[in-house]
């Protein structure tokens, strides 16, 4: 070999103690580079604040209420966070929940079927909406903002128009006396009493979905693909990752969770207002971003999204407990979003600096 190559050996020689370095990356630093650290700090801050100013907030039953509010946001946020890590987002997620609930409620009522038939029809509808979002996106190459904005507007229109056409009003008919209602309610909208405190079942579903999503993201091939697709889809495709299937799957996951949340709404209230749901998608997206998901994709965690949802759940209920004017809620959410994003950015740059 030429002297040139010998000279090049010099930089490699400094790595002799590399095994020491390998283990030196401390647990602390590893923790700080996790996506959800910023939001954890934020969650603690919000908790401490309401704990200090709102006396009713301190009761254990209040925590149960806060967790319930968090879970209704959080279940959707799981899907939205996964999708965001995969590099896309879904503006139709909010009205998609209502679409699913309306589909189940109206189908069961109009055809007088067991409610489970309506539930399955709604599942098909929700998965189809997700599939169409994903399919149009990968086939046209249009940005997800545009594709899902179109879906959002179309679903919003369909929700109200079809409901009016069928029921003559703006809400679906009550299905509380139909076959299978009690059974479905037990699954989607019941409560479990733990230590004298009633905890809504959605809290447990929420935790389960977060756990599954975390497992998938960190310990399965699909999780690896989600990060890759969001981080650099061209590279992912070049090494054989099925980019299109991954993206469509993510949109369908959002569809699945919209179905689940929709079923909760339906069986908790027996009837669904056709106009509701809009602007919730922004709360889901905000929760995912607060939880450390990068809007541009390739980075984030399901746990972070859950913490983001918890922050917003605490805020929603905390404002009530503190006797503040609820009009402040949106302002508070916006301020939290900004603060959390800046905090995340700061933590990440500090932790990444070596």
């Amino acid at each position: 070999m030429s002297p040139v190559t010998q000279a090049l050996d010099a930089p490699a020689a400094q790595g002799t103690d590399r095994h020491a370095q390998l283990t030196r990356r401390s647990a602390g630093r590893r923790f700080l580079t996790r996506p959800e650290v910023g939001s954890l700090v934020g969650a603690i801050a919000v908790f401490v604040m309401f704990f200090a100013v709102a006396e009713p907030f301190r009761a254990a039953a209040s925590l149960s209420t806060v967790l319930y509010a968090s879970s209704t946001i959080g279940i959707m946020t799981v899907g939205v966070a996964l999708l965001m890590i995969g590099g896309e987002f879904d503006l139709s997620a909010g009205v998609g929940v209502t679409t699913s609930a309306l589909a189940a409620g109206m189908f069961s009522f109009q055809f007088s079927t067991n409610v489970w038939v309506g539930v399955l029809v709604a599942l098909v509808v929700s998965l189809a909406v997700g599939f169409v979002n994903g399919y149009v996106l990968v086939r046209t190459g249009l940005p997800s903002f545009l594709v899902t904005l179109a879906t959002f507007l179309m679903l919003q229109g369909l929700n109200i128009a079809i409901t009016k056409l069928i029921t003559g009003g703006v809400a679906s008919d009550s299905i509380s006396d139909m076959d299978g209602f009690g059974q479905a309610q037990a699954i989607f909208a019941s409560a479990v009493t733990i230590g004298g405190i009633s905890v809504k079942i959605t809290v447990f579903w929420w935790l389960l979905f977060v756990a599954i999503a975390t497992w998938v993201l960190l310990r399965t091939r699909i999780g690896n693909w989600i990060f890759a697709v969001g981080g650099q889809s061209d590279s992912a495709r070049a090494v054989g990752v099925p980019v299109n299937r991954t993206k469509i799957g993510l949109f369908m996951t959002v569809g699945f969770l919209a179905w689940f949340t929709g079923m909760h709404t339906l069986f908790a209230f027996n009837t669904v207002q056709s106009g509701q749901g809009a602007t919730n998608e922004l709360i889901y997206i905000a929760a995912a971003v607060v939880g450390g998901c990068l809007l541009t994709g390739g980075y984030g965690s399901a746990i972070g999204g859950a913490i983001g949802a918890f922050i917003f759940g605490m805020t929603t209920q905390g404002i009530v407990y503190a006797n503040w004017d609820p009009d402040w809620l949106k302002f508070f959410i916006g301020a939290t979003l900004l603060a959390a994003t800046l905090l995340n950015m700061w933590v990440r740059t500090r932790a990444a600096r070596r």
């Binding site: 030196r24 091939r221 990060f227 590279s235 070049a238 390739g298």
Partner: protein
């Protein structure tokens, strides 16, 4: 697969031509890539380097001539086909996902799993250790296999991509302008790993338009011009100056120089001298 000690080239092109419509991008290109050798393909922009690479890597098919792998004619329909024959391509920008860790990038698309059914999961320990060992074999020392690959330098990223290709069974490695976007030191690091890949017994095809880089590691040089082979020579038959001259257009450049000399002789304006230095 058997080794190619018997003198059969791993990859051989025999009079290969490629047309895009009625534009002739390549014609009559013949070259042989031997194991444990670095074959450098040089040429100016538009000389046909990219087309040649696309043919060898299976992205495009060829229209004339023969393409042989281990002495056997092939016609690839996708890069996957080429990969299955052990021909891997490392593209300059398409190599990695910056925010993912080094080991996840290393195994991306070919993840190792254990368990079955819903318990089928990534074998993280095995992947981290394998990635670490493979990189070390190439002489790449990383302080932390968990760091995002985006925090590595451009040269190191190329090296991880090269090590990855080797680990997944590449026998021929096509490197598309690996040093183009790199500084002097980084380019040196990449060339060192090119040499390491060659020493590991791979046939390396190095595409570059930098004759200095090519001459440091090359065993065989092919210069393309307007889709045709301008020069096909072994290292011992060549000097860096001769290579540079061929690369720069050879006889054509010589002629140009004469013309410019004449211009300078007739022109007495100081502006022309300034232009020459600039």
């Amino acid at each position: 697969m058997t080794s190619n000690t018997d003198g059969v080239a791993v990859v051989e092109l025999d009079g290969v031509g490629k047309n895009y419509g009625n534009i002739c991008a390549l014609s009559g290109v013949s070259l042989a890539v031997e194991a444990s050798e670095v074959t450098c393909i040089l040429g100016d922009n538009g000389a046909g380097k990219s087309t040649l690479i696309k043919v060898i890597s299976g992205l495009h098919s060829y229209d004339e001539g023969r393409y042989l792998v281990d002495g056997e004619q092939v016609r690839f329909t996708s890069p996957r086909d080429a990969l299955n024959r052990g021909i891997a391509t490392v593209y300059q920008d398409l190599a990695v996902v910056p925010l993912m860790s080094v080991w996840r990038n290393f195994f991306l698309g070919s993840e190792v799993t254990k368990g079955t059914g819903p318990w089928r999961r990534l074998d993280v320990t095995a992947m981290r250790e394998t990635a670490d060992a493979e990189l070390r074999k190439m002489g790449i020392d990383l302080p932390d296999i968990d760091q995002p690959i985006g925090t590595l330098s451009g040269g190191q990223r190329q090296c991880v991509a090269i090590a990855r290709a080797i680990h997944f069974g590449a026998r021929v490695l096509i490197l598309d302008e690996p040093t183009a976007a790199l500084g002097v030191k980084q380019a040196g690091v990449v060339l060192k790993y090119v040499a390491a890949a060659r020493d590991a017994g791979l046939g390396v095809i190095l595409i570059t338009h930098n004759p200095h880089h090519a001459f440091m590691v090359g065993d065989h040089f092919v210069v393309l011009r307007q889709g045709q082979v301008e020069l096909n020579a072994a290292r011992r038959d060549l000097t860096l100056d001769a290579l540079t001259l061929h690369m720069a257009g050879g006889a054509e450049l010589e002629e140009l120089r004469h013309e410019l000399d004449r211009l300078e002789a007739t022109s007495t304006s100081p502006a022309s001298a300034g232009w020459k230095n600039g």
